[in-house]
Structures are given as structure tokens and as C-alpha cells.
Symmetry: C2
Subunit: 427 residues, 2 copies
Amino acid sequence: MSKDVIIGFLGCGNVGSGAWRLLEGFGADIEHRAGLRFVIRKVLVRDLQKPRDIAFPAGVLTDNPDDVLNDPEIQIVAEFLGGEEPSYTLMRRALNAGKTVVTANKVAFALHWHELQKAAKRNGAGLYYEAAVCGAIPIIHSLEESLQANRIDKIFGIVNGTTNYILTRMSKNAEDYATVLRDAQRLGLAEPDPAADVEGLDAAYKLSILASLAFHGRVPFEDVYVEGITHVSAEDIRCGQELGYTLKLLAIAKRNGLNVETRVHPTFVRSDHPLANVSGSFNAVYLHGHACKEMMFLGRGAGDMPTASAIVSDLERAASSCMHRYPTFENEVNPKVSLRNNTDWQCPFYIRMLAKDEPGVLSRVAKCFADEQVSIAAVQQKGDCHNGRVTLVVITHRAGEKAMQRAITALDGDIATLESMIRVEEE
Amino acid sequence: MSKDVIIGFLGCGNVGSGAWRLLEGFGADIEHRAGLRFVIRKVLVRDLQKPRDIAFPAGVLTDNPDDVLNDPEIQIVAEFLGGEEPSYTLMRRALNAGKTVVTANKVAFALHWHELQKAAKRNGAGLYYEAAVCGAIPIIHSLEESLQANRIDKIFGIVNGTTNYILTRMSKNAEDYATVLRDAQRLGLAEPDPAADVEGLDAAYKLSILASLAFHGRVPFEDVYVEGITHVSAEDIRCGQELGYTLKLLAIAKRNGLNVETRVHPTFVRSDHPLANVSGSFNAVYLHGHACKEMMFLGRGAGDMPTASAIVSDLERAASSCMHRYPTFENEVNPKVSLRNNTDWQCPFYIRMLAKDEPGVLSRVAKCFADEQVSIAAVQQKGDCHNGRVTLVVITHRAGEKAMQRAITALDGDIATLESMIRVEEE
């Protein structure tokens, strides 16, 4: 005897269509194995007239959210609208009506996790969001239910496929940013307006969710330092490669006691690090816990079917749960131990400058670093002299972000100008 | 208000001690977050007099299994004895007494999964076994609850850290097998009797569990083809590297309809495949599902604390479940669709021979292949002539295992002798 599970979809773009197709094609297997028969009762769309690939049965499509939210038979609402609103309002309404929510929406979830969770608990409803972070990769579920006996102190994520595709192409073929971005847009791997991806915001939303979950504390999106890849040059990638580094847009979260640092920026990782080999549009999350030690999850972070894989697994978990669980924030339990946002993190830095090719210049450049207690690990002069200037690449030992910023501000433009500053993670 | 969860340990070697230490050091965090207070009531050991690192409270250690199994207050039994017996008998007794079992025992579990699961269901007890496969890596839980909406058609695992350590050293430093094995034994990375690891049995037990779970059908240990790494030569590793391949001991499971092939053997993978970069004692599981596409999990597959990470997460899941779940085998639901064991798999082959250095030899060698419809993709003659013989390396196109075996049996020793035959996985 199968149990009917009545679902409503909010949205049916790429992700929603994937979920529909997976349920249609694989529903018999799920019924056979788990005894659950998913019935999609209503699908909210913006435009009823738009031509669609899927032949929806009559009466399923609607442009009125009330048809989903006020239907007493709908037990689970799956949200694929994306963006903060109206998604947040609609999800809250669903939860307040006692309906379990499954969402793929990193933005609304990262910004309103706390409120959504409170509404879910209050109404005995479930709240599932595996698909909001890294598509098919079960990183949310693993943090919640497989790695929970760990004090996780470090997360490094390649959580945006678009930027990883661009950086991989730039690294492998020495192509420049603008060319590869255009290609990625043509191939559908970058949006016509690529800002959210290439400026690092998409990664920052995901990092806020991952860090909150891993550190059992709220790590607000607003606290994440964000720097995208728009200014990355093929020359820096090449200089890094010569030094044994690969450039990635990393989402980094570290916890040391109650101090937390979260940052998204182009980062040099050692070329033999597992993350260095994550190429193309793949996503990966690398973490370290006090018991599990190093661990990495790699997979498809986007795409209709990989995201549907996460959504349908959440639907099945939601439908077969006899009691929904909610992640606990330590600072909910004990407000005195709130995590603190540390913006003065420490790391090695890669600095590329154009410097005057004359005696005494290196000593004056080095003094700017020394004045801020930034210790230099290596200096290389690259290539020939152009217009009286040579390229100078400096790798520092671990130094404070703020000291480093002061050091490069103190550079005398007359003798050396800063071309780029890229943070390094040594593992 | 915390809930007390009373546990008994069966065994307290490396893995059990790790679980004890993790619960001791992290128990307050678990209580704080999940409201569960784990109390280890009894620990079964073989020798009460043996000196131990852990200062067990008086009365906890016992050498009588009945003290664990007959204690009505013990709700969960965690089994770390290893091996088939007495583990299987003790776990079955625990389940029949209505106690939930958490086990790290791949052997007893792979051999008696079906009986253990039946006993668990019949008695309303839970059966958790994340720690039995790949240590800290949450591959069991992910297959059960995150990737279940996938038709998984392929699993490639590096599931034995000892052999991966040995092959990594042989690959990186061109060292020979015997030297590296001795080093691994000295470092505690290989057992004094290394047979179970180096002959592939450990990997085969794990593969039987992974394949059964992924394919929703019983894949008996006895059906797994097993070949270890004892005959692997530094020369084959080097020849493979020149052709763009890295040698790994892969645990391979493929499903095509109801046909399943499962095999553990040294395998050449392309050097740019994510598995090729899994080095040292790391484990990894790479899989492909019809929705999730390619995915890989990488982490510590052994060691006291990584294994404890999996055990304690299972303990927490077991203790907070209001209803235990059991994986379903399709052939339990419908005996007509039993999986079929396919031993005549297809793959490309790497063949190294010593052949006479004279005209017509290559044509005669090639004829042995052609007679079995094995098509050659590349031939290389390597190095100089020794004793009138040269090294000949052949890479074939995809061919059937049995045809390939017939082809090499047909080689005329007078003109060419087989030195090695290694299967290749092209991805």
C-alpha cells in the first residue's frame, strides 16, 4: 500500500522542470522502494501562456499562489522561484499553514533562515534545503546527520560552477577573462547578466549557509567578505602556476573558538591540493573536522537533473519523516556564546607589482612590508623591463589582512605600483 | 532536559577506543545540541588484564558478552570486534533482544546483511553501519538518504587505504612493491599479515555492501571478482604513466539493467580523472547516477578518530530516530527481478609482453588478439632488446574479459610471453 504525498510547486523554470521530470520518470521506482506516491497537484508559474516542454495535465498550472498555499490537501511545497521575494513570503505562508517546505533557494534561505526555521518549528512543519547549496552534492545532509560529531574548523568550497569554469579555462589555455566569459555565456554556463556569479555573491550566500550549519551558529550573509573574479588576469594565473599554485574562487570559512572568518575571493591553492583539480563547472566542498579529518565532496553544483536529485531526496525524506529535525544554533541555546566575525584573518599573500628597475627599489618595497611586520617568503623578478619597470612578484609568510592592506597602501607609486594582491591558502 | 542513551561496546581496540574518546571529549557538545547524553555502561574486551590507554570506570570492562547483551537498560550495542565471528552471532543476539546495533564490521555485515536486517526489522531495532565502509566518509548515509532518487549505474571506489598508500608511493617514487610494503608495515599503515588488504578482500567486502545499497539488490561478496596488488610491478606503473594512466586498486561496480558486474583489481585510470589524484591512505568513492551525474566523496577511510566520527553520528541518528529505516532490496519486493552477476565484463586492456625481436612477431601476436575479436588501440615497443626479447605494450579497445583471457592464453610462448595484464577504465 503506497502513501500519497500531495505536493505543490512554486515555480517551474529549469530546476522545477527537472524535479517534475525526475518524479515522472523515477516515481515508480520510489513507490516500489519507499511506498510513497508523489502527486504534483499544483504548479505556480508567472505566465500561463508561456510555451513549455512539459505537457502538464489540465488544471495543474496556476498563476495564483493561493491555489498552492490554500489547498488543504497539499502537504509539501517545493519552492524554485529563486531570489528573496516573493519566495520568502510564500515559504513563510506555507510553513504557517503547516506545510513542509523543500527549497532550492539559497538567497531567501541564507537571508531568512532563522525566521523560516522558527515558523517551521512553530507549525510542526519540515524545512529542507539540500538543493540550495551545491546542487546534487549532499553536503547539507552530511553536515546535519553524518559529520555532527565533529568540531569543524575549516571549510573551503568551490561552490560556483560558472566562475570555476571560467578560471579553469583561463588556467588551462591562458585565455583572458573577457573571452572566456563570452564563451561561457554562449554555452549557457554564465547568465546574460553574470554579476551574481562573477562578483562572488552566489558563493557568499552558499557559504553563509554552510558555515552556519558547520559551526552551529549564525554566520550572516552580511558578514561574508566578498571579492569576485572580474579583475583576475591571465598573468597572475600564470605567475601562480610557476610557483606551484592554482587559482580558484574559494568560499572560505574558518572557526577558531568563537572567532569566525568567512570570505569569498580568488585564492591560490597548492596545485597538488584536491581542490586544485576540481575543474570546469564542478563544485566541491573540502572541510576538516577534529574527528573526521580532511574530507571532500565533489559533484555537479547546478543543472536541472543534479538539482532535482537533491530536491527529490529531500521530498522523500520529508514525506517519510515521522519527526522533522531542525539544525540548532549554539547562540540560540546560549546567547552568550555568539560567534564573532573576524575580518582580520591571517594568510600568506601573493603580490604582483610593477617596480622601477634601479638599485634600492627592492629595499624600499621590502621596507613597506617590514614596517607592517609582514615577512616576505619569496621574491621573483619576472620578464623584461618595459618603460623602465619590471614585474616583481612577492609571496609573504602568513600575515594579517589589515597589516597587508596598510603595507600595499604605503607603497610609493613612484617606485612600485600594485598590480594585484591575491590571498593564498597553504594546506 | 537531556535524554540518557545507554550503550554497550562489543570490543575496544583501535576503533572502539576512538569512539570512547570522541564521546568523552565531544559528549557535552552533543548533549548541548541534540539533547542526548550517551552513557557507556559496559565494554566487552577479550582480556581484562591488558593495559589500556583509557581509564575505564570500575565495572565497565567485562569479558562476558552476556553482561552487554542481557543488560535490559542497554539500548544500543556498538560492535567493533571485526571479523565474521563471534561478531555476527553477538549482533544477531543484540537485535533479537530489541537492541539497536551500530557496527564498524564490514566482514560480518557483508556476509550476513540480509539476516541482520531481518532480525532488526522483526524486533523493531535499528541497524547502522556507516563505519563499516570508508571510515568517516558518509557514503552509506548518502546512498540511503541523499542519492536515492538516482538510478546509479557505476561506482568506482578506492576503498582500501593500505593499498592506495602502497600504489601512491610506487607511482611517485618508482619504488618496488616489497620495499613499500615493508615501510607501510613499519609505519602502521599495513598489518603484520597484510593479506586481507593487499589481496583485495577488504575492498571486496566494502564493494559488496556499496553495490547492494546503490543497486537496491543483493550483490553477494562471493560474486565479487578479486585480484590484489601483490603482483604489481614498478615497470607497469611507469609504462602506464607514459600512456597517461595512473594505477589504482579500484573496487568497480556497474549495473546495466539487471546485469551487475563487481570486481576489485589493479586498474589504470586516466591521470586526469579525480580518482587518479586520490593519494596516500585516502579513500574515495566516485559514482554516476542518472540524475546527480558524476560525484565523488573523498576522506579518511580508516583510523580511530575518522571511524569514530562515523560511529558517533550513527549513534546519534539511532538515538534520535523515532522510526528506524532499512534499505530495501528490489529482489525482496519482487524476486523475479533478481540482479544477475556478469563475469564477462568489457573494458580496454593493457598488456605487457616480452617478445622476440624479429620480423613477423608483431603480426603473430596481433593475430592472437584478432582471432578473439580483440581490437588493438595502440602498440609500443619499449626499451632495448635483452636476451633477444623486447618489451611490447599493447592497449586494446574495449573487449570482453573472457575473449581477452583466451587471447593471452593463445600467445605462443616461443614468440611472446605475457608479463602482465591490467584492466583499464576510460571515463
